[in-house]
């Protein structure tokens, strides 16, 4: 079925080495658009994880019945159906968050990560592996979105866990910096999102370079590849 090592590599790839956001540079729109706080990012990532895991299973099991010429429409069909289900679930149960995430839930469909993983992995691997792949790719996305969201929120308004009340109405965001902190609004706006993500990618490059420096015999992991393509 699936070995421990396999899980390890899949996890390593998803979370760090092939991280969708900062290595493959995919799925940028949700990454930048919804991360005005960490909670939004986490919730959207969870939605994406569900879609990726389910579409991984679905496509990996059905891959042998899908003719090559129409594989893209069929993949998209499957993903779109799953996304709409998730969309409906959010709408029903987390309505406020649904309003905040807005258009980005349906856009999971075109999130390049989903289709890229489906094409690159699920279409070639058995269901179980594909599910794991989907989940760990999603986890990779989750932590980057959470981190970016947290940074933006912290810089922008001096709080953490903003928006938590939308998920758990009993909880409140925590004000970390003093009330008089004027708020570096740029961080919450698109320019800030881009610049902070740029810094995160540079940070990842730096970590890789340092790791490569430390044990020179190990070949360096692939550097960021730009674009879905």
């Amino acid at each position: 079925m699936i070995t421990r090592d396999e899980v390890k590599t899949i996890a390593g790839n998803g979370i760090w080495k092939q991280n969708t956001s900062i290595v493959q540079i995919l799925g940028l729109c949700p990454l930048l658009a919804v991360t005005t706080n960490a909670v939004n990012g986490i919730m959207l990532s969870l939605a994406t994880i569900i879609v990726m895991a389910l579409s991984g299973v679905a496509i990996a099991s059905l891959r042998n019945f899908i003719p090559h010429e129409i594989r893209i429409p069929v993949f998209i069909l499957i993903v779109a159906a799953l996304v709409t289900v998730v969309d409906l679930l959010f709408n029903a149960n987390l309505h406020e968050l649904y309003l905040v995430l807005g258009i980005f839930i349906p856009l999971i469909v075109t999130n390049c990560i989903v289709l890229a993983r489906v094409e690159a992995f699920a279409a070639k691997n058995p269901p179980l592996q594909s599910t794991f792949d989907g989940i760990f790719m999603g986890v990779g996305m989750l932590w980057t979105l959470a981190l970016l969201g947290a940074m933006r929120e912290f810089l922008g308004s001096g709080t953490i866990l903003g928006g938590i009340d939308m998920v758990f109405p009993s909880l409140q965001p925590i004000q970390v910096l003093p009330e008089s902190y004027p708020g570096f609004l740029l961080a919450l706006l698109p320019p800030g999102a881009f610049i902070l993500l740029g810094c995160m990618i540079a940070w990842k490059n730096w970590m890789e370079a340092r790791a490569a420096e430390r044990n020179k015999q190990k070949p360096p992991a692939p550097v960021a590849t730009a674009g879905c393509h």
Binding site: I66, E69, L77, N91
Partner: protein, 220 residues
């Protein structure tokens, strides 16, 4: 892919159509099932969302009718700067008119229109005002939104509560800077001016049309 057989164009068309057909049936079925399953919950939360807004401007204790059912469709109303038809809700207690809840637009915000929901009691008093949509400058003009207002104890927008045409003259219904009684944040006066003007106009409109509005639906 394994060596696919050569198909004729129509053959291929039939084949792909059939395969796509099967997939669509399966997944649309799945989706529709999910839809039917979540439908009640979605409708409930949509209604709840509306009520939540209304609750902010008018406490539930003040009325006892099914507010969301006692509605009226307002046509485009220039007095409220409404360009499209909107819904107006009527609150009643024991059948007696209590308040009108309706939308209004302040056209002259710093960065465009500001949409408001306003509740005005039958007495002419403003029960509450909330901003539903605006594009005012973040960090400067957005204190009109309760959530963004740093003064959590007494958000700026709540100072309209209880104001009425009877108590407050048109002259006073202005920013302090312009000789009125309404507070504002330094450096951003355009936005509060726009909002207070809109609230004033709404109060005047409600005053003028109250009886008609409460009567209209009841007849039916």
């Amino acid at each position: 892919m394994s060596a696919t057989k050569e198909f004729s164009a129509t053959g291929m068309a039939a084949r792909t159509a059939a395969i796509l057909f099967v997939f669509v049936i399966i997944f649309t079925g799945l989706l529709s099932g999910a839809y039917l399953w979540t439908k009640p919950a979605i409708e409930a939360s949509a209604a709840e969302e509306k009520m939540k807004l209304v609750d902010e401007v008018l406490p539930r204790s003040e009325y006892d009718n099914a507010l969301l059912e006692d509605t009226l469709t307002l046509p485009a109303t220039p007095e409220l700067t409404l360009a499209d038809p909107t819904q107006l809700y009527r609150a009643r207690k024991g059948g007696q008119p209590v308040a009108l809840v309706f939308e209004a637009v302040a056209p002259d915000g710093y960065a465009g229109k500001i949409r408001l929901i306003i509740a005005i009691r039958a007495t002419g008093e403003v029960a509450g005002v909330r901003v539903t949509q605006h594009k005012e400058t973040p960090g400067l003009g957005d204190y009109i939104e309760v959530k963004k207002d740093k003064n959590k104890a007494r958000p700026w927008i709540t100072q309209f509560n209880g104001m009425s045409l009877a108590q407050v003259t048109d002259k006073e219904w202005k920013l302090k800077k312009d000789g009125g009684r309404i507070d504002y944040h330094a450096g951003a006066t355009v936005t509060p001016r726009a909002v207070s003007k809109a609230v004033l106009r709404a109060a005047q409109w409600a005053e003028a049309n109250r009886n008609r509005l409460f009567a209209e639906g009841a007849a039916k």
